[in-house]
Amino acid sequence: MSVEDLLVTPLHAWHQSHGGKLVDFAGWAMPVQYSSIVEEHNAVRQRVGLFDISHMGRLTFAGDDTIDWLERLTTNHVARLQPGQIQYSLMANGGGGLLDDILVYRLSHGYLVVCNASNRSTVVDQLERHREAAVAQLVDRTLDTAMIAVQGPKALETFQPLFPAPLDSLKYYHATMGRLFDSVDAVVSRTGYTGEDGLELIVPATEAEKVWNALLESGKTYGILPCGLGARDTLRFEAAMPLYGHELSETINPYAAGVGWAVKLRKGEFIGRDALEKFKADPGQTRVGIRVEGKRIARQGSIVRQGGQDVGLVTSGTFSPTLGLSLAMALVDPAVSEIGTALRVDVRGREEPAEVVELPFLRRSDSQVAAR
């Protein structure tokens, strides 16, 4: 990996000077961890953690026909969004395969789509290719903005001193705008990819370090830690949140993946609608949670078996820092998807006993569902 070939976020210099272990993620130089993945994970579950997620795509839309355009290109019902509301959605191709999972925001001045870094050009290409008569403006704001996630039970307390309006009135999956330090315009959403309460902020790239440092200072009293993509993955995994390229892809339909609720077949015509309707009737596979005996991790691609037959594949697996268990998510034959079903998982040539458990593995401030 040559760092010169990678895109860098507005916080790159900070990561470099603070022990960020940088790796190539979707063509961006991103920190996997600063200290320990488990420490960073625990900081988010117990206190508050800070993530640079500037690599995510941020696309803005302005113009009256934005709604129709987005309606045709995405699976959820855009027209239903209230001002300030955000919806999880999917972009499908004509065959019902998924190109990305996204968040669609309705802001006061237009719409915003946040997409995966790995799919930004695919998403933009798809939108433009199917623009048809839409005259709305699409502007890719990824490179001139930064996005920072503040996540954990102390996230709101950490951010509140920096924000002029009370945050507890900001509802989950809603966004607001406000000015930090009397000068920095920010979009603030009560969203996240960790399974904890928290916020995601979008600010101009030039202000990223100032905001980041202010958050670290404000969060010091709660024991805030900067967190990398390693912890981001273990956190979203415990909350059973899908990751494109693992639980979602062009060959995994949303009903198999467990996100069929983001597909509104009755809203009218949209790309992939007919194919998705067929998948709804017969998803073919089911995403399940699996608890693997022992500590070896069943990573993506590990074969799941029952009675000597291959019954599925692992999509993601890890050793859960919070639960202290080897866990996996897998797409399996619906016949073996019932909670408690005994299975075996081939972990690098050695089969480990396993069992289907409930998803999510962990609920926010709740009992540990997998540890039964």
């Binding site: 996997v32 961890q33 200290s35 320990s36 993945i37 488990v38 390693g230 273990t234 022992g294 500590k295 070896r296 991790i297 890890t318 050793f319 820092p321 080897s326 690098r348």
Partner: protein, 128 residues
Amino acid sequence: MDPKTLKFAPSHEWVHLDGDVATIGISRFAVDQLTDLIVIDLPAVGTKLTPGKSFGEIESVKAVSDLYAPIAGEVVEVNSAVSGNVQLLAEAPYTKGWLIKIRVDDPSAIDNLLDHDAYERKVAEEPH
């Protein structure tokens, strides 16, 4: 073990030779690069080690890494404390965290390994 008295393989395993019995472990550098250790898979007593070939695995949250045999021999003892709790390795890679003891085929083969200073120089050159 005092790391300064040990011999090292470029793949980060260390060796302490006492007669024809070698104690093998991995370096502090290797442990710090891995972070977040979950479990270690060590060979059974009686297993024959071939230099350069994997004799076990160490798994961290991020990845699985092979343990490479620095010298030929037969396993005569396995550190079951580390097998049971890999954190011992993270805490003390040169003492409590030793991994296996082997009866070496040829004690002079240890001369092919790096001494502590040479290993430290090599590690300093590595991108990290």
